[in-house]
């Protein structure tokens, strides 16, 4: 497994393909949902531009911070968790600039996050990065090529992909039956819990009690719980006796 795809004389890296596909799918979903909710093209365009820039910046900045400022934005790795943080910060900023779009954009992005992450992880699986703990059971995978020789390991990237695509489908169901407006918080809660749990099966976790990613997931989980409690309180206040 791993390495590159070849078509004739050309080699294609699977990771950038999956990365671009994840952005196309996520942005397409956000665009469609915002249009359905009656947002103007100007606002949607501005929102997507800010999200694109801040997601890429967040994804690279996380790598810079993880390297202790020994790598630049151009040379550091790309972190999906950093990207997610950048995306959420972009939603917060856009909400401050244009309060009318805040709620819709927040929900659309929280729903699109697991879709983007699920697609991006297939790229990690094909490229051979972010691999799992040593494992010899069914579906174990080995990477043997000029760049990486590892295995057999647990196919954590595939499991992450499946779990997050499932969370996306759950989100769609929640959105269809939504009455309380809490879909975004539920999505954040599910994503944080899933990422926290799946992190235990990654090679990076070996020899550590809690990884940096898990601390960030814990913070997201806490924020989602607080948000759900607030929404519950607000609903209780609004409902007739």
């Amino acid at each position: 497994m791993g390495g590159v795809w070849t078509i004739g004389d050309f080699s294609i890296e699977p990771y950038p393909v999956a990365f671009l596909l994840s952005f196309a799918a996520g942005f397409g979903f956000v665009f469609r949902l915002l249009r359905k909710r009656g947002q103007t093209l100007n606002i949607i365009g501005c929102s997507l531009a800010l999200i694109l820039v801040m997601t890429l910046y967040g994804a690279r900045l996380y790598g810079v911070l993880a390297s202790g400022f020994q790598k630049s934005l151009l040379t550091s790795g790309t972190s999906s968790l950093g990207g997610a943080m950048g995306l959420l910060l972009a939603v917060f900023l856009m909400g401050k600039i244009c309060p009318g779009v805040r709620k819709d954009l927040w929900m659309a992005c929280c729903m699109a996050l697991p879709l983007m992450y699920g697609i991006a992880k297939t790229g990690c699986f094909l490229a051979g990065c972010c691999y799992g703990i040593p494992y010899g059971g069914p579906l174990a995978v080995s990477y043997q090529n000029s760049r990486i020789q590892i295995g057999p390991v647990f196919p954590i990237q595939l499991l992450e992909s499946a779990v997050f695509l499932l969370i996306f489908l759950v989100g769609l169901q929640l959105y269809r039956g939504e009455k309380s407006g809490s879909t975004a918080s539920w999505m954040m809660l599910l994503c944080a819990a899933a990422k926290f749990g799946l992190e235990f099966l990654r090679q990076e976790h070996v020899g550590r009690l809690i990884t940096g990613n898990q601390w960030v997931c814990g913070a997201f989980f806490l924020a989602a719980v607080i948000s759900l409690l607030r929404e519950g309180k607000r609903q209780a206040g609004e409902s007739p006796e």
Partner: protein, 125 residues
């Protein structure tokens, strides 16, 4: 849109433009300092400076985009804002196309290189 609002929008656009152009000069000066003066070229310190420089440049770039978005949302009829938006879009598309072309050239060069290497005796992959 009142003249005051138009003036405010123009100032925001000018700051946005400065935020986009500023990092180019900043990075230029930084690279000159790091390469010309041998005293600066000391491993970790150089990496640290390059890293901080890239983070600050990125922040300024985002600040420029945010300011333009503020203009486009709050003062959509401002002409400078409209022109600047199209300038950024065109530059973005050109950079994207140049990046794709550069990647294609790089892939073609690497593929040709590996094909030549495969013919060498003892080459494993």
């Amino acid at each position: 849109m009142s003249p005051e609002e138009n003036k405010r929008a123009n100032i925001l656009c000018a700051i946005s433009l400065a935020c986009e152009v500023g990092p180019m000069f900043f990075n230029g000066i930084l690279s000159v300092l790091l390469t010309v003066n041998g005293g600066w070229n000391v491993g970790k310190a150089q990496a640290l400076m390059e890293s901080i420089g890239s983070v600050l440049s990125g922040l300024l770039f985002i600040a420029g985009i945010v300011l333009l978005i503020i203009v486009r949302v709050k003062y959509p009829k401002n002409v400078f804002g409209k022109v600047l938006m199209w300038v950024y879009i065109v530059i973005g598309v050109i950079m994207l196309l140049l990046t794709i072309i550069a990647i294609l050239f790089l892939v073609a060069a690497c593929t040709a290189c590996f094909q030549e290497l495969r013919n060498c005796p003892g080459f494993l992959f």
